[in-house]
Symmetry: C2
Subunit: 383 residues, 2 copies
């Protein structure tokens, strides 16, 4: 995970990060700028890193007996086709980072995705992987192919919120919803389409850069095509599954702007949100298990909710820091978590388990995985 | 993956590895001995490594605000219960490695699982993880709880083989079956129970040491109890799921010896099996994707099968070396693989996909994963 960005910045609707909001210390800004360029570099050299990965496979293939190489003609052709898909991914990534140029208003970096990394610049393998994850996240949040996953997790949240905040009783434009861990912003878009005021918070610059592109620069449906599964070399039944194109966005947020308001804020949830009794609703989807200390997250959610406001949560308990070296982590089971939520003063309105959800799952892979998620609706008492 | 063991050795029925078979070079033997002790050390310091993992969690917990610690009393008690389960796992592991003493006939190491690692000895984290995998493998192969997984993958293989080698037409004791990647030996036991002569081949010393214990030293049903899920801190609904005891073996191979013959051979499949036209049947279950070059595996299978003999395969294509640094790997998709198998001269008798199989899956976890495996029956032509 990259360094936290501690200042509060809007990337919507202005399409630029506002560096004047908050009061960042100069060294922090320098650190953030470095981090920003590191991530831009990971995007920029996506093609180089991907082709290097293919080359390693081709080189190994050259060491095999001639009789084996003869049997692998079709596989070799497949590798060449994968390279073409990587080229097309790189073209889309070029557009994504081109727009990121204006995220830092006085940025002076030069974006040329086809270049080789300069001497001394090392792209970390985990950052290359995060670029791949970003492509899968586009599949999940903004493609027709990702509809099943979105229906599994966003639909119950949206239905819950629209039922609770009945439009005949509430002026939805004044109902303030926060979505921490907003990723590529589909959930905030959908909530804003219902008429709510909805703010997304996101920590990862990979997500922020890509969401900025989808939310502000994709003007027509299915404007771009990516190949999200080209890096998955295992458990493929067919070559065409690995080469599957995915177009996005299935809906253009600029062409069909929501009737409500949406806003995306960069930064660490724990540092950005301090105003007590501010939000009418907080919706967390695959988010609360991203904490070193989950109680801290739930405590902040409780503090910033208005009395009578609700917290809707869906997701598993895949505590992200559980096996990260040099990171602290507590991992209470769900039954302990429920007790903690109660002891923090929440009224539990709904408490369901075994809600089937998948996350960036390649539908054609021979390996299928899903979460039996928990679904919680909790209310902050009126006094 | 540990170093290959290139010599052919029996660990059944003699319960000792025969170091005189084959023609190992002295340096190879020294290398193998070092590797053996490294793996024994990973088992031996299982308790130490596990308690260190718990301690890290407890230390982080101590840094939390007092109010949070108050909410975590139940979680803290849970950590203490986990420690008791780890102690019990360590007792079983002590028995498992005690018996491993006689695998190398002139071994002089001292096995005391409760000790701290001596100065300078570092247990690699991946070896600690392999001890955990071994516990899960015991669940899969030798517990009542693992029956579902076994029925998914071993049952179709056994039924195929008993149908092909009809006992009214064949003297099963003379039908020679090889199971490469035999793991903890359940499949070879089941095939030997049908009356066949069955040999398992295994490369991993973790598996060989544990299978030796189950096959030769477990004299009554459910003689031992382990806690295979204690190291899974994520996606637990309930504390009792993480603390679930699993007894083994559900059947004792020493108390109910098979009517046929079974034998386990240590070593690298590619190096050990050279005799052409020797086996009547080869059964591979979650094995063929463990190759750097899958063609090499299939070619050996073809060579060592008798004309008219069959190869039964079930499993996914999770090419194990796909993302291992400094390892070569080719990853043909299933459609290419079928063509390769045909071009090697096999007659394909059955070719199914989407056979649902799971592998060491914690049935209570909120994260569920399975493979839509391929199921293949191939025959070597008579001429």
């Amino acid at each position: 995970m990259e360094q936290p960005s501690s200042t509060k910045r809007n990337c919507l609707p202005s399409a630029t990060f506002d560096e004047t909001v908050g009061d960042p210390v100069v060294e922090d800004m320098e650190e953030e700028r470095k981090n920003f360029f590191k991530i831009i570099a990971a995007f920029k050299y996506y093609r180089h890193s991907s082709v290097a990965e293919l080359k390693r496979k081709e080189c190994f293939l050259q060491t095999l007996p001639a009789s084996h190489q003869d049997m692998l003609h079709s596989y070799q052709e497949h590798l060449r086709n994968l390279k073409r898909c990587i080229d097309m991914n790189a073209q889309v990534i070029k557009q994504i980072i081109q727009d990121a140029n204006c995220l830092f208003q006085n940025a002076d970096h030069n974006i040329e995705p086809d270049q080789q990394p300069s001497e001394g610049l090392k792209i970390r393998y985990q950052d290359f992987q995060k670029v791949q994850i970003t492509l899968k996240q586009i599949f999940r949040d903004w493609s027709e192919h990702g509809k099943l996953e979105r229906d599994q997790c966003y639909k119950p949240i949206i239905e819950e919120i629209t039922t609770f905040f009945d439009p005949t009783k509430y002026d939805l434009s004044k109902v303030k919803i926060l979505v921490p861990g907003a990723g590529l912003g589909r959930l905030i878009y959908e909530l804003a389409c219902q008429g709510f005021y909805c703010e997304g918070n996101e920590f990862s610059l990979f997500m922020l850069i890509a969401s900025n592109f989808v939310l502000n620069r994709c003007v027509i449906e299915n404007q771009c095509t990516i190949y999200p599964w080209v890096h998955q070399f295992v458990n493929n039944l067919s070559k065409k599954h690995q080469l599957l194109p995915v177009s996005f966005p299935d809906v253009s947020p600029t062409k069909y702007p929501p009737k409500g308001t949406m806003n995306m804020v960069a930064g660490d949830f724990l540092q950005v949100y301090r105003d007590e009794n501010y939000w009418d609703c907080i919706a967390t989807c695959f988010f609360i298990d991203c904490a070193n200390n989950i109680i801290e997250f739930i405590e902040v959610i409780k503090n910033i909710l208005k009395p009578g406001g609700i917290w809707v949560n869906l997701g598993p308990l895949l505590y992200h820091f559980s096996d990260v070296p040099h990171e602290g982590s507590i991992e209470p089971t769900y039954e302990d978590l429920i007790e903690i939520i109660r002891s923090l003063g929440f009224i539990i309105l709904k408490n369901e388990t075994d809600v089937m959800t998948s996350y960036s799952q390649n539908p054609n892979s021979m390996h299928q995985s899903h979460y039996n998620s928990i679904y919680l609706v909790c209310q902050k008492p009126l006094n």
